[in-house]
């Protein structure tokens, strides 16, 4: 982070709120559903092949967003179920938890979706996801060789990401 001057991104990584967190895997999608990044740290069970898995994950998130926008008890005027929502439009969820994992989700105004799947006892990871987005901006977007919409191959991004996610434990 010293290369770009730490003060330009967030001042320092947020204090980890998780206790005993072990990240299982991470996805980054763009607004068209292309999986830009898939990282796996600890995944004993693979139900589907990678392409199907990415599509299923994107589809689940798309539908959940549609569902939360419709179920929103505060806003009176809501679109119809199934109508694609623009990033930031309508109520969106930030995490869901099952008995075996917790999925934390963040969507940026540009449509980049960052998903982190962790241990179910993990705390609120919204700040961590914002920090990861900061890493993405620094190492990927600002890289002149990178074509937007293509899978991320940046070694520096992968290293920084790995280091940060392991430090959340």
């Amino acid at each position: 982070m010293q290369f770009f001057g730490g003060s330009e991104i967030s001042p320092s990584p947020p204090v980890p709120t998780a206790s005993g967190n072990n990240a299982h895997m991470m996805y980054v999608f763009n607004r068209n559903g292309v999986c830009l990044l898939y990282k796996e740290w600890n995944r004993p069970l693979h139900t589907l092949n990678p392409q199907q898995d990415h599509k299923l994950m994107f589809g689940l998130l798309f539908s959940l967003k549609s569902l939360t926008a419709k179920m929103d008890p505060i806003n009176a005027d809501k679109g119809n179920l199934g109508v694609p929502q623009l990033p930031g439009q309508g109520c969106s969820f930030h995490s869901f938890r099952t008995n075996t994992y917790k999925l934390s989700f963040m969507e940026t105004p540009s449509g980049i979706k960052i998903i982190l799947v962790t241990h179910p006892k993990t705390g609120d990871l919204r700040e961590s996801l914002k920090y990861i987005y900061g890493l993405y901006v620094e190492y990927v977007v600002k890289n002149p060789i990178y074509t937007p919409g293509s899978p991320i191959k940046s070694e520096m991004f992968n290293t920084a990401l790995d280091q940060y996610v392991r430090s959340i434990s």
Partner: protein, 141 residues
């Protein structure tokens, strides 16, 4: 201060059998509530497919910006889920209590057809009592 916006009960095929809306704004019409219930049923099933480890039983809590959704699935597959204010405590015990009311006033009712929409007066009365805020505070004890 517990604020419950709505309660849904879905049968094991995903059809809505009970819906109670306590919210003031954001009311849904019947068709929308049916669609939302079926959509939730499918999302619950898909989330089990994406689990990194074995033994996933589906989404238990969904946290959004303006509400939380708690879901409880009974052993036969009936799902009870409640939409409430973010951070409302004791929702899991409330859902288990509602399941008890369901077994007592609905399943044990000889005129009730299983998997059909619930039309049992005693269930409604007891449910209204249960979702009042002081009652929810008692359950926390």
């Amino acid at each position: 201060m517990a604020a419950i916006y709505s309660l849904y009960i879905i049968n094991k095929s995903g059809g809505l059998i009970f819906y109670k809306d306590c919210g003031t704004k954001g009311r849904m019409d019947t068709n929308d509530s049916l669609r939302v219930a079926s959509l939730w049923h499918s999302m619950h099933a898909i989330s089990q497919q994406l689990s990194p480890v074995n033994g996933c039983s589906g989404i238990e809590l969904l946290q959004a910006d303006t509400f939380d959704l708690h879901c409880f699935q009974s052993l036969p597959g009936t799902k009870f889920f409640v939409v409430c204010e973010p951070g409302t405590p004791h929702m899991e015990s409330l859902l288990r209590y509602i399941y008890e009311l369901y077994t007592d006033y609905v399943l044990k009712n000889p005129f009730y057809e299983i998997e059909m929409p619930i039309r049992c007066e005693l269930f409604d009365i007891n449910l209204s009592q249960a979702v009042q805020s002081d009652r929810v505070a008692l359950l926390g004890r």
